[in-house]
Structures are given as structure tokens and as C-alpha cells.
Symmetry: C2
Amino acid sequence: MPPRSPTSRDVARLASVSRTTVSYVLNNSDSGIAVSPATRKRVLDAARDLGYHPNAAARSLRSQKAGVVGLVTYASTMQMGANAFMPLVLDGVMSVLGGAGVKLIVEAAIPGQPDPCVGLARGGHVDALIVTGARPADNGLRVLHADGVPIVLWGMLAGSDLPFVDVDNVAAARMAVEHLLDLGHERIACITNAPPSNNSAAADRLLGYRTALESRGIVVDEVLVRRANYDEVSGFEAMRDLLAQTVRPTGVFVASDEVALGALKAARVIGVTVPDDLAIVGFDDLPIAPFVEPSLTTIRVPAREIGIVAARMIIAMMANGSIATSTTLATELIVRESSGTLRA
Amino acid sequence: MPPRSPTSRDVARLASVSRTTVSYVLNNSDSGIAVSPATRKRVLDAARDLGYHPNAAARSLRSQKAGVVGLVTYASTMQMGANAFMPLVLDGVMSVLGGAGVKLIVEAAIPGQPDPCVGLARGGHVDALIVTGARPADNGLRVLHADGVPIVLWGMLAGSDLPFVDVDNVAAARMAVEHLLDLGHERIACITNAPPSNNSAAADRLLGYRTALESRGIVVDEVLVRRANYDEVSGFEAMRDLLAQTVRPTGVFVASDEVALGALKAARVIGVTVPDDLAIVGFDDLPIAPFVEPSLTTIRVPAREIGIVAARMIIAMMANGSIATSTTLATELIVRESSGTLRA
DNA sequence: TTGTACGCGTTATCAT
DNA sequence: ATGATAACGCGTACAA
């Protein structure tokens, strides 16, 4: 059995003061109450010598604050290991939270199981939540929000007034497709991700695709719109099906880089050369994008910054009790080889 | 202000019973004490109607258990977003912990800052720790272990008796290099990762490389041993330098797939064809490995299973109070295109 | 079968 | 400037 960690009582005993004084010295350092420097030093030394760490449970029980933020992923496709994007966000979140001395509990929602956010918040495990992949049907979030639990969404929740951080997916997708249009392509396909009933990001990217084409007076051929499932395999299959069409597209907008990698492979296997026979634009600008063959033209999404901003918003909400204003981060078209040059 | 979450007192009131009864019904369901079915139902209904969730802090304070495991990464190169491997492990950990109703706190050690493991464990934030990238110098772990805190390492800690889960990096690397030898290569280079003072995985992979060559009577040419830094860019640079040699290698063992992707790019840029001019074997078998061009021959490391096993070991240790026995997971050589065929 | 009372470690209030 | 005391919400030994 572990020798129980020292308590403030132990520190008090060693420093020959009361627990109250220990508490003052350790927390209220800048409060109105003064403590004699000698006493202060004795307490500090005692705490250090004992390796004292205040008990989280007791502190939390007393203060009614957990000092912990929850990061919850809903859609399985958004989960930690499922795609290469999420970890970058997590990294950003951790850097901000760590700096603020706030802990991070990570949890994944499992379909059919009780909403983890509710348990986390109601049980006092966390003071606030960063949520991604939530669907409108998850009204647990609404209730928590109504009750004043600070919540920040990564990605918008359709028809919700929860504060979020996101990119303008419609505009970004439009930018990607317009790049292809500007290169002279007219028959442009789209591989977007299958929305888990309604992932607004996937839907918005598709919308951006449609908007771009329509703004140039091109009618969208629905046979050119395909669904993938966030990974390479599904991208491979989508592209394979696309290239089985009698009239092949000359350009493809793929709504995520990992899927694009699978698509690239399919083209290669089929004998379609990228970018000469087929121009491809991805989405995300993952670290691998510059290194795949051919290097991937894509939309840069500031993944780590998304995490940073979300965490900052949450920290602010916890401090102020206010509701942060939603943030839309900028994307950027990164032109590399896969989109090729001006079409003859 | 949030309307405070309901307490067991509220449940008791609504069900017209005492708090004790509520506690019995909710926790001790299978205890010796019996509760009348009618009462039980009243309590359950009341809890459900109120959306009651036991307060984590109070429960933890009382039980002296946090119900939380900490996942701590030390080396920055091992951090969540830094490479594509860690998220897969995290995913495995989460799946096991979630099923056991145990929460997960994720934290990254920052050089120069106090060891997060100590604060996490001593402060009672967590009951146990899963640790990766720890260096022998971090003796906080030793002390915690000596005090009976359940700890599992992912990757071995040199000269430590902490239980770990890992793969046999020496054997795996040897297998990779022997594959190249079997294909008829003799001048084989190695790009391993720069150990953060002492990452045993990196060192072991290098050792496996040396062992393989020496077992065939080949003297290692130190000019063929290069260091990368876990990412594509460093892999690119390492390969570029390698190919600047007067006598180029015909095969390269790269100690991680992401680095291999960078190396692949460098070869392409320089005009060296893989696998015809240069055979490459990677390590990890990331999801992207089959999709890069050419598809990557590599060592499969069961990333998700590493997480699963580590979590299971931790759960067992928390339950038994025992010390789990270390686990070494199997690797496998996955032959794809990048290593080419038998050399003329 | 159910209720009463205590303590887990902290911090805040109130005396001294 | 410092110390005694109460309360946070829960679980359980004990009494009824």
C-alpha cells in the first residue's frame, strides 16, 4: 500500500502552525491576510520537504471546481486515432491547458451509450467541455449549456447557439474548386466524407463545391459526387468508382488529405496520371501533404491553432462566467503539384 | 450560475428515503444488505428523474480513489500530435478505459517543469499512470513506483524494473535489415531517430541494424548511419545527405514510416528510383504505408494493441494491487513495393 | 429494512 | 498574525 500522500495537516505539524496558515501560505499568497515571512518560509520548506501536493478531490469538493476540462469526441470518424487531424488539435489544447494548470480528460462518445458530456459535467469531473463531432440530436449539450456549463464546439453544431471554433468550410471548399476551375477544368468531381447523419463540415465542403461550379454556370453532375469515410481505403474506393465512369473527370476536390491519399493511389493503380490526366486538391494540409507523390495541393486548416483557440475560449469562459464569441479561423490554398498547371 | 447538480440528498428527498438507502441502491446493488424492491425502484426513478450523477470529488475523497488514469508523454517527439503513432495508442487506451468506466487524463511533460506524474499521483488526480518517453533521469517515476502507484511504461525504461509494454525493437529492426540482405543488398544504410538523450527504441533499432549486418559478416560503415527526428522533414534531410555520398547505399532501413516518407521524397527529388535504385524498409506500418508511392515495406507495430495492453495492465494493477508482468508484442515484416525484388 | 453519525482534505469564516 | 470550526457530498459502520 502506498504511504498516503502528506496532507496539509502534515505540513502544518512539521511547520508548527495550523492548517489554516498552511492554506494561506500555499494558496492565498497575494490575499489581504499577511503571514510573517518566517512562518511563510517554514511552511514552504515543510511543504517542499514533504513533497506536499494538495489533494485534488478535497480541493475540488470544497471549491466546487474540478480544475479539469473535458475533450469529448462524438463521431467515431473524429476520434483520436481515426484520422491524423485530431491529434494536432489535441496538441494545441494541451499546450494551452497545461500552461494554465488545468487538466484534460479525454473521452469518446459511444453510440448508444449515455452522453459522456453529461456524466463528466454533472459528476463534477470537469468544469467545462470542448466538444467535437456533436450532432444536433445530442441535446445533452444543450441542457448543459443552458445550465451554464462552459462549452466550446470544434465545428459548428447546426442550429445551436453554442460557441464554436471552426473554419469556413464552404468558402474553403469553394476556394479549392475555383483553383481547379481557374486551371481550366470543367468536369470536376467531389469526394466528400459521409456525414454521420449530419457533419456540417462534410456538408459544407460539398456545398462549397456546388457553389463554385454553379457560380461559373456549370451544372453539377451528381454522378461526380462521391462519399468517402475519412480514411485512405474509402478514398481509394471512391476514386476507383469515379474513374469507372464513361466520361472521367479531369479534376477532383477531395474533402480531406487522408482520403486524397487513397484517391491518389487509385488513380495510379488505374493508370491515370496525376496531375496530367487528373488534378487533385485535398483538404487539411496534413504534415504528409508535401511529401506524398505528387505533393498535394490542399486547403490549409490550422489544426493546432484550432485547439489553442478552443482552449483559450474555454479558459476565458471558466474565468469570466461569460460566453465566448465563436471564432472562424482562416484557411489558405496551398498549391503544390497534384493540381497541375493550366490546362491546354 | 449553474443550478447545482442534484446530490444524493436530493435523490433521497424525492424518493422519501435516507441518503444511506440511496447509496445502497446506487452502489451496493449486490451487497449483503437488502432493499425492498419498491424502495429500490423509487430511488432509481428519483435518480433518473433528477439526472443524478454522484459527485466525483466527494466520492474520490471518500474512497481514496480517483477513478482516473493518467497518460503522460515525456519526450516531445512522442507527444500526441507530433507523430502519427501515438494517437493510435491513445485510441487503444481509451477503448479499454472507457469500457471500465475509468477516466483518462492526458498530459505532456515539459522539460524543466516539474514532473507531471508526481503531481498527478500525489495530488490524487489519478490512481495510476501510463507513461511513454520517460528517461532514466526522471526518477519521480521510480519513487512513485516504490510507493505502490501502478505504472505501466510504453517502451522500456533502461535499467528500471517498471512493468512495460513494448515490441522487441532489436529483433524487428534485424528482421527489416535481413529482408534487405536477403534481397541481395550489401551496402545498407540506416536512418534512425535522434534519441532524446536515450530513447531505447531508437537505440535498439539501430542495434538491430548493426546486428543484422554483422551476422552476415558485413562491417557497418558509420557514414551510412544517419539520424532523423521523427518527422518527414528530418527524413528528407537525412536521405539527401546519405545520397550525397560518393558510394550510395542500395538499401535503407528507416526507423519510422513518417521519416521514411520524407526519405522517399528526397530520393525522388534527387532522381533515385525506389525500389530499383534504392530499396527502403520503414517501421510502424502506419495507415498511410500502403498508400504512399511506392507502397512501403515496413515493420508492423500493433499500435492500438499497445494501448489496449497497457490499459489492461493498468486496470489489473489497480484491481489487484499487484504488479503486472511486462509484455512484449509481436511485430511483423510487411513486404510491399518499396523494398523491391531480388537484386541482380 | 432504514436512519444517524462520522470522516475523507480543503478552504473560508470568524475569533483571538 | 494565527488558530479553531464548519462545510463541500459521499460511503459505511452502527444503531434502531
